[in-house]
Symmetry: C2
Subunit: 201 residues, 2 copies
DNA sequence: ATTATTCTGGACTAGTGGGTCTAGTTTAAT
DNA sequence: ATTAAACTAGACCCACTAGTCCAGAATAAT
């Protein structure tokens, strides 16, 4: 009985893709099961047969989205210290102000109240990964005598906070302005300098 | 004709209070006009006569909430540099992890897509005030020779980012843990030290 | 007491949405 | 060809909601 799984996987993928796009763009309540079905080119009943109800579909969609956001691209922490920090700051700085990233984050944060497991997934696949990786890196560089971060996780938290900065707050609230945008790269370089001033061994 | 305004102001206040509490706690779509009316001890029609429709009521509620969050309490930037920064970090650090603050922020960020003017109000009354005040303070201290922040607004952005840090991310996603919580104060003191190491003249 | 306004409570409209059910069709394995 | 499963299209149920309307009660100014 491995027969019908062929067709079924296709439909499932279509439904999930549609759900991701629609939920991330418009949120949970704004999207109806009919809209998902139509967008997936599938009947309403098929949606229900693949995902039992709206909340389950939503959870599946968010989890899928978290995994496909491409966070890992920011996390190549290798090579010379300053180069590495700079590259990370630029990449991660872009990542967190991307539209998809922001929308997903806001959605999870907002729904965190009544769907706790959702926020947990997002945190585990997002912020937690970054902070952990970065603090591991800082601990390593401290061990090597390049940095002096007695509390690597605090240093990671500080560095990430700085990289987010005003731009993240503005982007989150759709209040990005020209000035913050064009200064962004210089600001991030400045963060690296400032961080090294405080923590370089 | 200043007569009926006596009674009317009372009802309006009751409605607004109920709306603030309910909207901030449960969001826009989850709250119905009937619930607001019942919570305010008022008839549905009275709600409509005071605030034309749901969106207007929502906007009024959010604006009122933003003004009453008590952000200003964090902003007493006077006295000796390190003491002042420490006090600010502790106060503002508490403020941004408070339940009411977080819920309001998340709500505004989430609704920013389809209610732009709402996010604008929140940004103007919240983040913008803090960044501006802090950068004004840094500029002043630099002028006085106590600090060396050639770009005060960047320094403000960095300091605020650090103060938020992991705790803010966790709180936002209902993922606060014991460790982050008990270490919070020490972390904030560490931020001040780190900041001064990088920027003290 | 009169009068204008507000407020109440409930009925009403018109639309929406989650979820189920069914009858008939397609699909693919045997 | 048969069979079992998945799929479709649409009707259907039930509960809910923004907003309107209205008749009567309360309120306050004159």
């Amino acid at each position: 009985m491995i027969k019908n799984r062929t067709k079924s996987e296709d439909k499932r993928r279509l439904i999930l893709q549609a759900a991701v796009r629609l939920f991330v763009e418009h949120g949970f309540t704004q999207i109806t099961m009919v809209k998902v079905a139509e967008h997936a080119g599938v009947s309403k009943q098929t949606v229900y047969s693949h995902f039992g109800n709206k909340e389950d579909l939503f959870a599946a969609a968010i989890e899928h989205k978290c995994l496909s956001l491409g966070l890992a691209d920011s996390l190549h922490l290798e090579g010379e210290l300053k180069t590495c920090l700079t590259l990370f700051a630029l990449r991660f700085g872009s990542f967190i102000t991307e539209d998809e990233t922001l929308k997903t984050h806001k959605l999870c944060a907002f729904e965190a109240n009544h769907l706790p497991q959702l926020a947990e997934i997002f945190f585990r696949l997002g912020p937690d990964v970054v902070i952990s990786e970065l603090s591991r890196y800082f601990a390593y560089k401290t061990e090597k005598g390049k940095l002096n971060t007695p509390e690597p996780r605090w240093a990671a938290s500080q560095f990430l906070g700085m990289v987010m900065g005003e731009a993240r707050l503005r982007a989150e609230l759709n209040q990005m302005d020209e000035r913050t945008l064009v200064e962004r790269e210089q600001y991030l370089l400045n963060c690296v300098d400032m961080f090294l001033r405080a923590y370089q061994a």
